[in-house]
Amino acid sequence: MSGVSVIGTGAVSPAGWGVAPLWDCVLANQPVPATPLPRPGWESPLMIRRAPQWKPRPAFLSHPRLRRASPISSYAVAAALEALGPEADPASQPPERLGIILCVMSGCVNYSRRFYDEVLEDPATASPLVFPETVFNAPASHLAALLGATGINYTLVGDPGVFPQGLALGADWLIEGRVEGCLVIGAEEGDWLTADAFRLFHRQLILGEGAGALYLKPQPEHGTPTRLSAVTDPHLFTRDQNRRQAANAMRAQLPAPKPGELLVDGRVGVERMDAAERIAWKDWRGDCVHPKTVLGEGLMAGSAWQCVIAVEALKRGRCSVATVSVVGCNEQAIGARFEGNIVAADVSPL
C-alpha cells in the first residue's frame, strides 16, 4: 500500500446539512447569524451558531437506534453517511472491515445535563432511557449499528487537535491492514452548559455545532485522488511549551509551502484565542481561509470542518496542496496536510 486517500467528505454545520453549504458559506466568508440560547438563571441568553433544522427529514432518523438519539448522533451519522457515499450500503464491504473513529470534546452534553438534572431532582425517577445516551461513544455505536459495522470502533476525547490525530490513527489502521476503509468523524452538539463554560474564558466566543467526516481508504495503484500526506506530531501545551511555542513547533514540522497551497486555519476571530496561530503563520503568503470565523467554534466539529474544506478545495481544483492548522483549546497544536492531483499552474485560487 502506497498511501491513504480521502474518498469522501461529509458535513453538518451552521451553514446547513452537507458539504456544499459548508463550502459555499466559507467561501462567501459571511458569518452565520448567531441565535439566542436561553441560560437558566439569566435574563439575557447566551449566543450560539446552531445547525439548522434538516429539511427534508433524513431517512436514517427512523432507524430504531436514532429515534431517541441526541443531536450529536444525528450530526455524526449524517456527516458519515455523506462521506461514505455509495459505500453507506452495508452490502458494499465486509462489516468487520470498516473502522470508525469518532472524535469529540464535549460530546453528548445535552443528555448528560438532562440526566444529571433528573438525578438532582430525584434519582429514583431519573430516566434509564437517557443515561445510556450520555456515554461518549453513543454516537459511534449508533453509526456502527446503522451501517452494520462490527469492526474496530474508537471514540477519542480531547481538544480539537484530536481530529488530525484520528486521521493519523485511521491511516495507521489502513496501512497495517486492520481495516479496508475508515471513517473519521468530529462532532459536537450545542448546549447552554458548554457555552456557559467557554464564556468563562472568552466572552466574545460563539460556539457552533455539527460534524465533519472524512472517509479514508488505501490509495489505489493508479490515479492520484486526494490523499492525506502528513499529520504532524501533537505539540502539547505544557509548563515548558505555551500555546505560541506549540503552534510554532507545529508550523516548523510542516513542509515548506508549495505554489498553489491553501491554508485552512482554526482562527475564530477572538484575538486572545487566535494570537498563537496568527503568529505561527504570519509569513504565510498563499490563500487562507478561516472556517470557524463564519461557523463558530465548533470544537471537534470545527477541526473536522477545516479538514473537509481542505479536501474540497483540492477536489474542486482550488489549490494543489491544502494545509490544516489546529491550535486547540487546552491540549495541543497539530497540523495536517492533504495533496491532490492538480498542478499549481492549473489552480483557480479562492
Binding site: 491513504v4 437558566p40 438563571g41 470508525i100 460530546g107 448528560s112 445535563r113 438534572d117 438525578v119 438532582l120 430525584d122 434519582p123 429514583a124 431519573a126 443515561f131 450520555t134 456515554v135 461518549f136 461513544n137 453513543a138 455505536s141 449508533h142 456502527a144 449499528a145 459495522a149 462490527t150 474496530i152 470502533n153 474508537y154 471514540t155 476525547v157 480531547g158 484530536v162 490525530q165 490513527l169 495507521d172 496501512i175 497495517e176 491492514g177 452548559l193 456557559d196 463554560a197 468563562l200 474564558f201 492525506l228 500526506s229 502528513a230 499529520v231 504532524t232 506530531d233 501533537p234 502539547l236 505544557t238 515548558d240 511549551q241 514540522q253 487546552n330 491540549e331 495541543q332 497539530i334
Partner: protein
Amino acid sequence: MLFSPSYRSTPKQRVAITGAGIVTGLGAGWTPNADGFRTGARAFRPVTLFDVSGQRVRIAAEVDLPETLPDLNMTVREWRRMDRAARLLLMATREAWAQSGWRRDPSQSLPIVLGTTSGGMSLGEAYYRQAIRQPHRHRGQPTRVLHYQAQQQALTAAEAFGVRGPITVIANACASGANAIGHGWECIRNGHATRVLAGGFDALSQLVFAGFDSLQALSPTQCRPFDAQRDGLALGEGAAVVCLEAWEAAERRGARVLGEVIGYGAATDGHHLTQPHPDGAAAFASMTEACHRADVQAEQIGYVNAHGTGTPLNDSAEASAISRWAGPHANALAVSSTKASIGHLLGAAGAVEAVVCLMALEGQWLPPTATLRTPDPACGFEVVTKPRGARFDHALTNSFGFGGANATLILRRNP
C-alpha cells in the same frame, strides 16, 4: 510526524510490560491488590462520596485516597485542584513509573494512551450544581471546567512525569482501559514508539452511580458474576497503568520484564446500546482476533479474566462466547471475574484486570470469584471460586462496554 507518506508497515515488535501500577478498593499498589485478588477479598462498603439515600443500592468499592501525594513534579495547589479520577491516575502512574525504572527525558516523545468513561465527572457535577443554583457566581468554575476534561488529566500526568505525549484518550465506555493498553501495544508493535504509558482510570461519581441504578443494573444483594441467581453489578473506582516497552529496548537496558502483551482484539456489537447480543458474537470476534494476533490457540490460555459484570445479560452472552471460543477445551478452562472483589471500574476495568492477569501470571495463582454459589448452566467452563495455585503461561482478559465496545487482551508470563 504522526503520519507521513513514508510510513510503511514494518516487522512487528514484541511488547514487554516493565512497570505496572494499580489502585482499587482493595488498596493502592501491587502488594495489597495481589493479596486481595489472590484470596478473593471484597472491597465494598457504604458510599460516602455523594448522597445515595435516594438510590436502590448504596454500596460501592471506594478507594481511600491520600490527602497529599509526594514525589511528583507538581505543587500542593495543583494536587488539591484535581478530582479523584486524576489522583487515582497519578497514583497508579507513579507506581508503574517507579517499577519500570524509566527516567524523565523531556527530549523524548512518550505516548500516553488512557481509557476513561467520565474523566473528572465529579468536577463537572459540581460545575453544573453551581451553574444552576448560583447562576451569577463564577468562583471556582474555570478550574472545574479545565480539570473536568479527560485530556487535562492526561496532561497533568504528562507534566507530573515530564513526558510530552502524544496523548490519546479512548472513551469506549467500559472497554476503554483494555482499548488503551491494546492501542499502546499496537503503537510499539507497529514501530511508532519504543515506550508507551497506557492504562485506564475512573472515579465514582453521582451521575454514573445513579445512571446504573436507574437501569436497575446494580445488584441490590451482592455482585455474583456467573451465578445462576446473579442480579446485577457493583460499582467501584480505581486506575491501572502499565509501562509498555519494545522487548529489545527493555532487554538492552536490563529492565525487569513483568510480562508481555501478545494479543489484542476489538469488535463492535450493534445489537443494543446497553445490551450485548445474546450469542456474544462480538465477544467471540474480539477473543478470536486477539488469539490470532497473539498466535495462540484457546487451549494455550490458562486463565480468562472475564468481563463478568454480574448482570444477567452480560454474563450469559459472555459465557456463550467463551464456550464457543474455547470449543472442546472449555471444560479445562479456568475463568473468573474479579469484579466480585472490586466492582466494575468502568473505564479503568480493562486496565485493572490486565494488571490482575499480570499478577496471576507472575504469582501462578488464579483469582477467585468468591461470591459465586451456583454456576449458571450456560458456563461450559470452570468458574474459579476458591483461591488456588496454577501453572499457566497465558491469560486472556475481556472488557465490554455500552455501545457494543468489545476488547480482549492476551498476556504472556515472562518465565
